[in-house]
Amino acid sequence: MKKQLYYEDVEVGSEVIPLAKIATTEMLVKWAGATGDFNPLHYEDAFAASQGVGSPIVHGALKRAWLGHLMTDWIGEQGVLNRLSCQYRGMDYPRKMKDMATPEEGETWWCKGTVTKKYVEDDQHIVECDIWVENGKGEKTTPGTATVILPSREAKS
C-alpha cells in the first residue's frame, strides 16, 4: 500500500511524482475499444496521412487519461481529483509492436507536474498544479492544470 499524501507534505514548487508511459499501437487499440472512439485517425495509416498528421496519432483523451492516472496515483485514495484540464498541442506517435507482447524500441513519455498554489477554502485543503505530458524529446505536447483536495494531518481528529 502506498503512503497517503497530505496537504502538509506539499509546498508551491513541489513535484508531482512523475509517471512513465509508453504509447504503443496495442495501447491505442485497447483505448479505442474501452472508450468506443473508433476514429481511424488513431489506427489507419492512409486516413491519418489524409488528415495531415502523417501517421496514426495517440488519442488526446488517452493523454488526458494518463494525466488523470498521474494525479490519482499522487493524491492517493484519500485525495480527490476535482478538476483536470489539458490542451492537445503536439502530436504523439505510438511505438509499433515488434511481436504479440513487445513494443519496438523508441519513445517513452513522462507525465509530470508541479504545485502552483495551495490554500484552504471552506475547510477543504486545495492544491493546484501545472501538469503535462512530455515526449521523448522533453517537449510538452499536452500541457494542463489540475485541482485536487488532499487530506490534512491537522484537520484529522
Partner: protein
C-alpha cells in the same frame, strides 16, 4: 469589407441547443478494460476487497471513464464545419461525485461557442462543447468543456 465568416447562420442556430442524451451504463468489465488500456493498476478501480475498506465502500471508476466516446464524445450535437479535418483541441473536466459500477450516466452536450482563428494550416474553426453528466439519481457527477478544432 470583412472577409466572409466561416460561421454560418445554420451553425449559429445550434448554439446552446441540447443534443441527444448519451446513456452509459457503468459496468465493472468496462472499468477494468479502461484501467487495462490505461495501464493503471490502482486497486480502487478493480479490487473490490480493497475498495470496500476505503471511504468509497466499493470500486469506483477512474476519472477517464467520463468524457469518452461511449459516454458521449459523439455528444449528440449537430457539429457543422466547412472543413473536412478535425482534431481534439483540449478538455477541461470538473468532477463532483464518484462514478460506480451500476450507475447509469446520462450526458447531454451543447455547443456554446465558435471561434475562428488563423493557424499554420490556414483558417481553423474552434467549436466549444459543454457536457453535463448526471447519474440515475439526477445528481451532476461531472461537467466538461471540450474544444474541437477543424481545419
Amino acid at each position: 469589407m470583412q472577409q466572409a465568416s466561416i460561421i454560418t447562420d445554420e451553425m449559429k442556430e445550434q448554439l446552446g441547443v441540447e443534443g441527444t442524451p448519451t446513456i452509459l451504463e457503468v459496468e465493472k468489465g468496462h472499468i477494468r478494460m479502461m484501467a487495462e488500456a490505461l495501464d493503471d493498476p490502482n486497486p480502487l478501480w478493480q479490487d473490490e476487497e480493497y475498495a470496500k475498506k476505503t471511504r468509497y465502500g466499493g470500486i469506483i471508476a477512474p476519472p477517464a471513464l467520463l468524457c469518452n466516446a461511449r459516454a458521449g464524445t459523439g455528444r449528440g450535437v449537430q457539429m457543422k464545419s466547412p472543413f473536412l479535418r478535425a482534431l481534439a483541441g483540449g478538455d477541461e473536466l470538473e468532477y463532483y461525485l464518484p462514478v460506480r459500477p451500476g450507475d447509469v450516466i446520462t450526458s447531454v452536450s451543447k455547443i456554446t461557442e465558435y471561434n475562428e482563428r488563423e493557424g499554420r494550416r490556414g483558417k481553423m474553426l474552434f467549436t466549444i462543447i459543454e457536457t453535463t453528466y448526471k447519474n440515475q439519481r439526477g445528481e451532476v457527477v461531472a461537467t466538461s468543456r471540450s474544444a474541437s478544432i477543424s481545419y
